[in-house]
């Protein structure tokens, strides 16, 4: 039986993590079908059909699918499920909200947030915010799996010519009403997907001082992160929190400034490819995970850092 990939999109375009989820799906089974549920989403469906790993697209359209409400999506997916061995989606807020609803309807124990496909029924997944890795084997006939997008490369996005079939819409769930979506408009990249993250901790001493971080982040085209201590102290809002109880980030470069490196913070960033720590306490635990550590007063180091960055001819974006 084939794998059913649930596409994430905004009715116009595919959302980028759909490509990472498609890669994971193709590692489970080469026969990958993708379902796209929305309203006026023909263009996104066409894009989906162009992914070479996708062999067939099922497009389901109805006005009540416009806002991706899980209560509406789940029954439509459950109806398709009988033809598939696996149902796969990314483990971002879209997939996290939707997949357990599908799994419960199918009486299946979901496997969340996998980082590796070991075999079609066995997966590697982080637990305790990545402080341990568990190898798990699911014995359910139907397998509902969400994948951690940053652990799989995006698949090729062109060259495929899958057929697009129309699927049958389900009933509307009347007890949930979408009101509005406010997308945070920022020139900075999103914390969860940024190539570079610059984070501040309690060492910043005040919310005002975070402007030193903002300057560096803007120069590098980076997202801004923070430790729980900085959030708790009110220096910055909670949506910047990196750590076990905040966001888990895996950027190419993570710069930790004035962050001591509490366990729960390390859990959210230690898989980053390159880690820099700037801290005046040479014994701070953050240095144990840093590729490059600088023992210095951040209020001297950050202006110097800006100066040095300004001297560079080019900065990768």
């Amino acid at each position: 039986m084939a794998v059913l990939l649930i596409a994430e999109h905004n009715n116009k375009e595919l959302r980028p993590f759909t490509l990472n989820a498609a890669t994971a799906a193709s590692q489970i089974d080469t026969e990958v079908h993708a379902v796209i549920i929305g309203q006026n989403s023909e263009n996104a469906a066409k894009k989906l059909s162009e992914l070479p790993v996708v062999k067939k697209v099922i497009s389901i359209e109805a006005p009540h699918y416009e806002n991706f409400t899980a209560e509406n999506f789940a029954p439509a997916i459950v109806k398709l499920a009988e033809n598939y061995s696996h149902i796969v989606c990314s483990a971002n807020t879209f997939g996290k909200n939707l997949m357990p609803r599908v799994a419960a309807h199918l009486d299946t124990s979901q496997v969340s947030d996998i980082i590796k496909v070991i075999s079609p029924d066995t997966f590697l997944r982080p637990i305790y915010a990545g402080n341990a890795f568990a190898t798990v084997k699911t014995n359910d006939a139907k397998k509902c799996v969400t994948i951690r997008p940053t652990s799989f490369e995006p698949c090729e996005s062109s060259g495929g010519t899958a057929t697009i079939e129309k699927g049958e819409a389900g009933e509307e769930f009347s007890n949930t009403k979408f009101i509005k979506r406010e997308e945070i408009k920022s020139d900075r990249p999103e914390l969860g997907t940024a190539r570079i993250v610059v984070s501040g901790g309690r060492g910043m001493q005040s919310g005002d001082n975070f402007k030193l971080i903002t300057e560096v982040a803007d120069k590098l085209g980076a997202a801004i992160g923070a430790s729980r201590a900085a959030v708790d102290a009110g220096y910055i809002s909670n949506d910047h929190q990196v750590g076990q109880t905040g966001k888990v980030v895996v950027p190419d470069l993570y710069i930790a400034i004035g962050i001591s490196g509490a366990i729960q913070h390390l859990a959210g960033m230690k898989e980053s490819k390159v880690i820099v720590a700037i801290n005046k306490d040479g014994e701070a635990p953050i240095f144990s995970v840093a590729d490059y550590g600088l023992e210095a007063d951040l209020f001297e180091a950050l202006p110097q850092f800006m100066e040095e960055l300004n001297k560079l001819n080019t900065i990768q974006k």
């Binding site: 899980a70 909200n97 357990p100 609803r101 124990s109 305790y128 341990a132 949930t176 009101i179 600088l294």
Partner: protein, 249 residues
């Protein structure tokens, strides 16, 4: 209005996790345990709604071994009125927990069920959504703001793109994000008072549901260790290393 709040006992978020040498799991003996952090937000929100005069009763429920009851006791100390402890042993999957809570919902008939968005031990992020599917109730996951209306809630949800607002009719399930509120600490007098509040104990075998695990945990291991880094002497050297050695800027 009656609110059922589900709480889970987990290893405290400040504890360094150690993997057992035989790869069978993580060490939990003699390790500090606490209520799962976003479950504290769930309790806090229920108490705030009651204090605002919009709820009449808060029931805290946990599912698990003997000591899991501590989390219910803590919920009682911050304002829950009554506790329920469904006693189980061994591995519990979110699907099993949601089936257990479904049974309790049928008996207690709450108008709302609150819980944390995710437990910080297994990081599954499933139970609220599964319960909502089993009950065919609306769900609002990752809630960062809740407004109680006449027969509905207006909930702001934290999503990857920003914020989403939904209106869900009661009865409904809400899973709570850390940004929802600031959980209070229990005062000593309230901790004493909580000792007198009732906790109903239920054996899971009396609920007549199959909670056999479907997913086998074959092995638990340490994540790959990072190789030791270097200390740089100054900012100029740092920038030079990032540019020419790591090639990341």
């Amino acid at each position: 209005m009656k609110i059922l709040v589900a709480v889970k006992r987990v290893i405290d978020y400040n504890v360094q996790i150690r993997v057992k040498e035989d790869g069978s799991g993580v060490v939990t003996d003699n390790v500090k345990m606490s209520t799962n952090p976003p479950d504290d937000n769930a309790i806090e929100e229920a108490v705030k709604i009651k204090e605002a005069g919009k709820a009449t009763e808060i029931v805290a429920i946990t599912v698990g071994e003997e000591k899991a009851q501590e989390t219910v006791r803590k919920a009682l100390a911050v304002g829950a009125d009554k506790g329920i402890h469904v006693k189980t042993e061994g591995v519990l999957e979110p699907l099993a927990v949601s089936k257990i809570i479904q049974k309790i919902v049928e008996k207690e008939k709450p108008d709302l069920v609150f819980m944390g968005k995710q437990a910080i031990d297994d990081d599954c992020n499933q139970t609220g959504q599964m319960l909502s599917a089993l009950l065919n109730w609306p769900q609002a996951t990752f809630a960062s703001n809740i407004e109680v209306k006449d027969n509905s809630l207006e909930v702001t949800r934290e999503i990857d793109e920003g914020l989403e607002t939904v209106e869900i009719n009661i009865p409904a399930i809400v899973t709570c994000d850390l940004r929802l509120n600031e959980p209070r600490y229990a005062s000593l007098p309230n901790i004493m008072k909580a000792k007198k509040k009732p906790i109903e104990e239920i054996n899971v075998s009396d609920l007549g549901i199959d909670i056999t695990p479907r997913v086998q945990q074959l092995k638990v291991e340490e994540p790959p260790k990072r190789k030791a880094g270097i200390k740089v002497a100054n900012v100029a050297e740092l920038v030079q290393k990032l540019k020419n050695e790591a090639k990341v800027i």
